[in-house]
C-alpha cells in the first residue's frame, strides 16, 4: 500500500516542471503569443510607437474586462450570455448620467453603476438558483432584457462622459492618444486583485470548488447557490466595467451595439485563455492576453494585406485550430487518468 502512495508522490514530483507546465503553461504561452504578435505587427506597419501601443491596449480594454467577467462566472460553473447586454446597459447608463458632470460625480456614478450591475446580475443568478433552469437559458433571456432596457434608457445615441473619466481608461481626455498607461494600470490592478482573491482566499477558491464538483463542494460545507450569486455579481461588475471603458472610449452611449456578438467574443476569449467551459479550471491572468489577441487579430491581418472577409475566415480557422490542439490534449489527459 505504502508503495503505491510512494509511487503517486514520486511519479508526479519526478517532474515538477511538468506539473508547472500543466498548471501555468497555458497562461505563459498566451502571454508569449501576444508579445510575438505585437512584435510582428510592429514590422508590418510604417510606424510603431506609443500611439500604436495605446490604440491596441485602450481599445482592447473592454473585451478584456468583459472576458474576465465571463471567466469568473465560467470558473464557478456557470456561463453568462448576458454580459454583452450588461456592457451595453452600463455603457448607455453611464453616458446618459455622466454628461457634463465633474469628475467626482462621474466617479460616483461609475461606482453606482458597478454596484447596480453586480446587484442585477446577482438577481439573475438567484433566478438560476431557484428556477433550476440552466445558466445559458436564463442568461439568454437576460441578454435580451438588458439590451431592451438599454434601448429604453437611451433610444437614440446620446450622452457624454467626463473627460478625466475618459482619461482614466484611455490616457487621454479625448479618448485617443499615445498614453497606454492608465489602461495598463487599471487592468493590472483589477485583474491581479481578483486573480489573487480567486486563487488564495477561501471564498475565491470556493468558486473553483463549486465549478469543479458541486456535490463535493456541498459536502465540504460550501453553499453552491451563494457561490453562484457571488460569481455572477462579480462577473456582472466586470461586464459593467467593460461598459464604462466603452463609454470612455466613445465618449457617448449607443444602445444599438449588438450585445450578442460581444458575449460570444468574451466566450472565445476565455477559451483562448485556457478557461474550461466545464468550470473549475482556468486563470483570469491568462484572459488578459487572450482578450487582447482576439481584439488584435483583425488589425494584424489587414496589415498583412489580407482582405477583411478572408481575415474573418482566417480568424475562425485559427481559433478552431487552437481549440483542436488543446481539445485533443485535454481528451488524452482524461484518458490517462
Amino acid at each position: 500500500m505504502t508503495a503505491s502512495i510512494q509511487e503517486t508522490l514520486v511519479s508526479d514530483s519526478q517532474a515538477p516542471w511538468r506539473r508547472w507546465a500543466r498548471r501555468h503553461g497555458w497562461t505563459f504561452g498566451v502571454w508569449i503569443l501576444l508579445l510575438v504578435l505585437i512584435a510582428y505587427y510592429a514590422t508590418l506597419i510604417p510606424r510603431f510607437g506609443a500611439f500604436q501601443v495605446a490604440s491596441i491596449v485602450n481599445n482592447g480594454t473592454p473585451l478584456v474586462f468583459l472576458a474576465v467577467g465571463q471567466a469568473i462566472i465560467v470558473i464557478a460553473g456557470g456561463i453568462d450570455l448576458g454580459v454583452g447586454g450588461m456592457l451595453v446597459l452600463s455603457s448607455v447608463t453611464a453616458a446618459r448620467l455622466m454628461e457634463g458632470q465633474p469628475l467626482l460625480v462621474a466617479l460616483l456614478i461609475a461606482v453606482g453603476i458597478l454596484l447596480a450591475a453586480a446587484a442585477i446580475n446577482a438577481v439573475v443568478a438567484w433566478i438560476i438558483n431557484v428556477s433550476k433552469v440552466p445558466d445559458i437559458v436564463i442568461t439568454l433571456g437576460s441578454l435580451y432584457f438588458f439590451q431592451g432596457l438599454a434601448l429604453a434608457i437611451l433610444p437614440n445615441p446620446a450622452g457624454g462622459a467626463n473627460e478625466w473619466f475618459r482619461w482614466l481608461f484611455t490616457g487621454s481626455k479625448t479618448g485617443i492618444g499615445s498614453n497606454p498607461w492608465p489602461a495598463i494600470v487599471m487592468i493590472t490592478i483589477t485583474v491581479t486583485a481578483i486573480g489573487w482573491w480567486l486563487g488564495k482566499t477561501k471564498r475565491g477558491l470556493s468558486l473553483y470548488a463549486v465549478g469543479s464538483d458541486k456535490t463535493a463542494a456541498y459536502l465540504s460545507g460550501l453553499n453552491a447557490a451563494r457561490v453562484k450569486i457571488l460569481s455572477y455579481a462579480i462577473g456582472g461588475a466586470f461586464a459593467a466595467l467593460a461598459g464604462l471603458a466603452n463609454t470612455a472610449i466613445a465618449g457617448r452611449g449607443n444602445a444599438n451595439t449588438v450585445g450578442g456578438n460581444l458575449t460570444l467574443n468574451s466566450v472565445a476569449a476565455i477559451v483562448l485563455g485556457g478557461v474550461a467551459l466545464t468550470g473549475g479550471i482556468g486563470s483570469v491572468i491568462a484572459v488578459i492576453p487572450a482578450g487582447l489577441i482576439l481584439f488584435f487579430l483583425s488589425p494584424i491581418l489587414t496589415a498583412m494585406g489580407v482582405d477583411p472577409n478572408s481575415a474573418q475566415v482566417v480568424q475562425g480557422v485559427l481559433i478552431v485550430l487552437v481549440m483542436a490542439v488543446t481539445g485533443i490534449i485535454e481528451w488524452r489527459r482524461r484518458l490517462r487518468s
Binding site: M1, E7, L205, Y208, S212, D213, L219
Partner: protein, 499 residues
C-alpha cells in the same frame, strides 16, 4: 438507555423521495465512547440517515438531539459545529483543486491534518497534488483525516472501507479504536460483516427504512446479523448461493481452448509485463492491493487505452483495439467498478441495457427487432427492480450495478471482464452476482474477475492471479486461495509462489 445522556439520539426520522420511502421511521442512539454499527441491505436507508444527521438533506420528520439537547441542524456547517464529523459514501474532495486548496475551502490547513495523515502512513503525501490525480482509496483516507481534524464528538463513516484494501482498512479501525478510548463515538457503516463484528460494540439494523434491531455485538454470529438485515426468508437463498465453490481442476481447465491471452502487456510505469491465459468456461480471479496497475490493465483489456507494448490475443487472433468498440466487437465485455462510468443516469433501464446494440451505424435506422425480449430476459435473469426504472439514477446502487452487467447479457459477449463488481453491494445481491458469473462460465463463456474482496475468490473463481507492482506475482487454485495466502502474495512477499 435514555436519550438524555446519549451523545446522539435520533427519533422517528423519516424521509421520502417522491414515491420512494427512504426512511420510514428510524431510531438511532449513539452513546459516548462506543463504536456503533449501522447495518442494512442496500437501500435500507443508511446513507440517507447519515446525510440527514449531517444536515446534507433535510428530514421529513423526526427529532435529533445531541447530548440530550434538541439540536437545530440546518446546513452541513451546523452539524460540524454540533461535533458531528462525516465521511460520506462518495468522496467530498474537489478534483480540480490541490489537496492543500481542498483543505483551505474547509477552513483547515496542512498542520491540522498532517498528524492524522501520519497515522495512516500518508504523512509524505504531496499536498500540492490535484485531488483528481489521487487514487480513490487515498481520497477516502484524506476525507477521514479532514473529518478527524475537526475533532468531532461523533465520527460517521459511510462505507469507508468499501474502497479500501485490508491494510488501509486496518489504519481506519486503529483510529476508530483510539477515538473510542478518548471517550468519543464512531458510527460505522459497512457491508463487510466480518470487520463490523471485529470493530464495533453495538449495532442498529435498518430494513426498508425502519430500525429492526438494536443489538450488542458481543458474541453475535454473522448469520444472526444477516438474518436481521434481510429477514428470515431470504437467508436460505443466500446460503444456497454460497455453498460448494465450483472449483475445477487445473489440468481439466488448461485442456480447454484459450479464449483470451495477454503476452507481456506493458503500460508506461503502471503495468510491467503481464501475461496470462483465460480458458473457455473459466472464471479467472485477479486480486491486488490498491494501485498495483490493475485499473490500467483492465483499461487495456477493455480497449479504453492502448498498451505501450505487448500483445493481446482473442481466440488466437491478435487484437489491437483503437477504442472499446474494437474490443467489444471481438466479444470482450467490460463491467467497470464505478457505476458512473457505466450508466446513462437519466435514461430508462431499457435504454441502458440496449445501448451496446447500437454501436454499429447499420443499426441506426430503426430499433433492433428483439430489443424488448433481450431487455426483459436480462431483467429477469438479474431480477432488476425496475419500478424506478424510468431513470436509472433512481435505482438502488445494487440495482444500478446489475444494470451494468445486464447490458452485456442483453447484447451478447464471449468474455466478461468484471472489475470489482460487488463493491458496496449487499450480501444478497452479491450472492446473485456470484450465481450469475458461474452460470455464464457454465455456458462456455469466460470471466476475468478482479476483486478486492478476498472472501469472494474461493466462492466464484477457478483460479486466481495476484498482481503486485504491475506484475503477476502469484497464481493459486481457488481451493488454496485462503485470505492469508492471498494477502502475503499481494504484498509481493512470497516470490516463490510466482511462476
Amino acid at each position: 438507555m435514555t436519550g438524555n445522556q446519549s451523545l446522539l439520539a435520533a427519533r422517528d426520522v423519516a424521509k421520502r423521495y417522491g414515491p420512494v420511502v427512504a426512511l420510514r421511521s428510524a431510531d438511532l442512539t449513539v452513546e459516548p465512547g462506543e463504536i456503533h454499527a449501522l447495518l442494512g441491505a442496500n437501500g435500507a436507508g443508511k446513507s440517507t440517515l447519515v446525510k440527514i444527521l449531517s444536515a446534507v438533506i433535510p428530514a421529513d420528520a423526526g427529532t435529533i438531539s445531541v447530548h440530550g439537547r434538541q439540536a437545530d441542524i440546518r446546513k452541513p456547517g451546523d452539524a460540524m459545529a454540533a461535533g458531528i464529523g462525516t465521511v460520506f459514501q462518495d468522496p467530498a474532495l474537489i478534483p480540480d483543486l490541490s489537496l492543500e486548496q481542498n483543505l483551505r475551502i474547509s477552513e483547515l490547513d496542512r498542520d491540522d491534518v498532517l498528524p492524522w495523515l501520519d497515522r495512516m502512513n500518508l504523512s509524505h503525501i504531496d499536498l500540492d497534488l490535484l485531488a483528481g490525480d489521487v487514487p480513490l482509496a487515498v481520497l477516502r483516507l484524506l476525507d477521514l483525516a479532514r473529518a478527524l481534524a475537526r475533532d468531532p464528538q461523533l465520527l460517521m463513516l459511510d462505507e469507508i472501507t468499501a474502497a479500501l484494501t485490508t491494510d488501509q482498512a486496518d489504519y481506519v479501525f486503529e483510529l476508530m479504536r483510539e477515538w473510542k478510548e478518548r471517550g468519543r463515538s464512531v458510527l460505522f457503516i459497512s457491508h463487510r460483516l466480518g470487520e463490523v463484528l471485529e470493530a464495533c460494540d453495538r449495532a442498529t439494523i435498518l430494513r426498508n427504512g425502519i430500525h429492526v434491531a438494536h443489538l450488542d455485538l458481543a458474541g453475535v454470529e454473522e448469520s444472526a446479523l444477516v438474518t436481521a438485515m434481510l429477514g428470515e426468508e431470504l437467508v436460505e437463498k443466500v446460503e444456497a448461493a454460497e455453498e460448494e465453490p465450483a472449483v475445477l481442476l487445473d489440468k481439466e481447465m488448461t485442456a480447454r481452448p484459450v479464449v483470451l491471452e495477454l503476452k507481456d502487456i506493458r503500460l508506461r510505469d503502471r503495468v510491467n509485463g503481464v501475461s496470462l491465459q483465460l480458458h473457455q468456461g473459466e472464471i479467472l480471479g485477479l486480486t491486488a492491493l490498491e494501485g498495483q496497475g490493475q485499473n490500467e490493465l483492465f483499461q487495456v483489456l477493455s480497449g479504453d487505452r492502448r498498451p505501450s507494448s505487448g500483445e493481446l490475443h482473442v481466440d488466437g487472433e491478435r487484437l489491437s483495439a483503437r477504442s472499446p468498440y474494437d474490443a467489444i466487437s471481438r466479444g470482450l465485455a467490460f463491467v467497470p467498478a464505478d457505476r458512473h462510468q457505466a450508466l446513462l443516469p437519466q435514461r430508462s433501464v431499457r435504454e441502458n441495457l440496449a445501448i451496446p446494440l447500437y454501436n454499429r451505424a447499420r443499426r441506426w435506422l430503426s430499433l433492433v427487432g428483439d430489443e424488448e425480449e433481450r431487455v426483459e430476459q436480462a431483467v429477469e435473469r438479474l431480477t432488476i427492480d425496475v419500478r424506478a426504472g424510468r431513470q436509472v439514477q433512481r435505482l438502488s446502487g445494487g440495482n444500478q450495478q446489475k444494470v451494468t452487467i445486464g447490458r452485456w447479457l442483453a447484447s451478447g459477449f464471449d468474455t466478461l471482464l468484471c472489475f470489482d463488481p460487488t463493491r458496496g453491494i449487499d450480501i444478497q445481491t452479491k450472492a446473485q452476482i456470484y450465481d450469475l458469473l458461474r452460470e455464464i462460465a457454465g455456458t462456455g463463456s469466460a470471466v476475468l474477475l478482479y476483486t478486492s474482496e478476498l472472501r469472494e475468490i474461493p466462492l466464484v473463481c477457478d483460479r486466481v492471479l495476484i498482481m503486485y507492482a504491475g506484475r503477476i506475482v502469484g497464481e493459486l487454485p481457488a481451493a488454496a486461495a485462503t485470505e492469508e495466502a492471498l494477502l502475503t502474495a499481494a504484498h509481493g512477499l512470497n516470490e516463490e509462489a510466482a511462476i
